[in-house]
């Protein structure tokens, strides 16, 4: 199952709620303002690091770059994808749930 997050975790509770319901083995894609959850040194780093133990987390590179954030500052274990990779994720997972 693929969960998508397009909101900043600093602004709304979407990421936190998503991670409360996502199960081990699930995948989570951070895109749009959701990418702000993907970086080292933020208030959400430990939440993400914990989640990486049981879940796959991805971040959309074009949205990272648009915002001037650095892919080399992404938390270790998060994988980077482009739009084609986003499409692949939706193919590889039977269901896609958007946490709006």
């Amino acid at each position: 199952m693929l969960h998508t997050i397009n909101k900043s975790p600093f602004e709304t509770n979407s990421l936190e709620t998503c991670l409360r319901f996502a199960r081990a083995g699930h995948s989570v894609l951070l895109f749009e303002d959701g990418i702000y959850g993907a970086f080292k040194g933020t208030r959400f780093e430990s939440l993400i690091t914990d989640s990486l133990k049981s879940k796959n987390i991805y971040v959309l590179v074009p949205d990272v770059e648009a915002r001037g954030m650095r892919t080399d500052n992404v938390i270790d274990g998060i994988k980077t994808v482009d739009y084609a990779g986003f499409v692949d994720l939706t193919v590889d997972n039977k269901t896609v749930q958007a946490w709006l």
Binding site: S14, T17, F21, A22, Q97, W99
Partner: protein
């Protein structure tokens, strides 16, 4: 026959009513969708639980000046939409209990048309399982 495909549809509602239109327009999808004989469930999580709050009072001509659409939830049972899951943790942190919610019921045709509650108040793990079983998840 293609018409006979039955998929599991889950509607995930996480937004409060009135502040935005998502609750109302999501309900319009559910009602139309009911005609398609799919396997439909609704989940209410986070501020979505407020959609089911009883005693909503507003009309086009008074109060907030918005249409009161809450009675439509009461009709869901007649459309065979009777699997309504409410996240307990979301109720708890809002100081709400089952008593604060509208009574949504349906007649169980497999049990002599007894009137039963459509609402199940469930924990995180049950909702997570529900989500995992779906074919289509519509989020509003």
């Amino acid at each position: 026959m293609e018409d006979e495909v039955i998929k599991k549809f889950l509607y995930v509602n996480r937004k409060a009513p009135y502040g935005t239109i998502y609750a109302l327009e999501s309900l319009e999808v559910v009602l139309i969708g009911a005609a398609f004989d799919q396997d439909v469930s609704l989940a209410f999580i986070d501020d979505g639980v407020y959609q089911l709050k009883k005693d909503q009072k507003t009309s086009v001509d008074s109060g907030a000046g918005m249409k009161n659409f809450s009675k439509t939830y009461l009709a869901l049972g007649d459309y065979d939409v009777n699997k309504i899951y409410v996240d307990k943790a979301s109720l708890d942190e809002r100081g709400l209990t089952a008593d604060d919610l509208m009574e949504l019921v349906y007649e169980d045709e497999d049990d002599d048309y007894k009137e039963k509650s459509s609402i199940s108040i469930v924990n995180q793990e049950e909702i997570a399982q529900l989500m995992e079983q779906q074919d289509v998840v519509l989020s509003f």
